[in-house]
Amino acid sequence: MEDNATTTLHTYGALPFYQIHFIVKGDGKMFEELLLARTRKKVRGLINKSVEDVWWEGGKITERLNNDARLKQLLLTILKDDDIFIDPVENAVRIYTRFKIEGEVIRYLSKEAIEAYNIIAGHVRSIMKEFE
């Protein structure tokens, strides 16, 4: 029975927690100081949380991200108890949020969220081109 199980089971990880990474390819390590960034937010309320303000902390990219009005508007709607990280690694720049339980992965991936990630990826790409 064990032999059969090894050929058919879809087991990706030990725990049912998933994380979605939006990837911009390129040498992230080269732009580490410019691109490493994360969101911070001011939240009001304990049970009915509402995000009052969102801003970016980190490298040079934060200047552009903080000045993007549309991105800020999107982040205020999509970030409730979450944060977005821009993490440059060796072969790419990874943009991600925290791990989500299996059933909530797509609930957080709304059209607005995709648009926000797209804008962030655009800023990442423009910085990589500019400082190449």
Binding site: T8, F22, K25, G28, R94, L109
Partner: protein, 106 residues
């Protein structure tokens, strides 16, 4: 049948044998067969891909070794797990990012 038993033991629903896999058995009636066809999609790749397509994006699963083999984190941020598994890579046309990489914890 053995496969399904094995899947049950591990708490994972196997979606690879969901349509007419011939494991219905002889003693099952029509109602049981109908119930078998109603299933919850448990494969996260398909769930994510379907969701993206429903949002109107031109998404498709594509293998990308460079992305899938990592490294996944720079570890500058706290509370990042050491052990993660890459599930799949989804490419979306017309976007600023090159692809979406789904990771599972553990």
């Amino acid at each position: 049948m053995k496969d399904k038993e094995a899947a049950g033991h591990h708490g994972v629903i196997d979606t690879s044998h969901k349509h007419g896999d011939g494991s219905g058995g002889e003693g099952k009636n029509e109602n049981e067969k109908e119930e078998e066809e109603e299933y919850l999609e448990s494969d996260m790749r398909m769930i994510l891909l379907t969701h993206l397509r429903r949002l109107g994006l031109d998404a498709y699963i594509a293998s990308d070794r460079e992305v899938e083999e990592g490294p996944y984190y720079s570890y500058y941020f706290t509370s990042i797990p050491r052990i993660v598994t890459s599930v799949c890579c989804i490419k979306v046309n017309g976007m600023n990012f090159d692809c979406i990489n789904l990771l599972a914890r553990g």
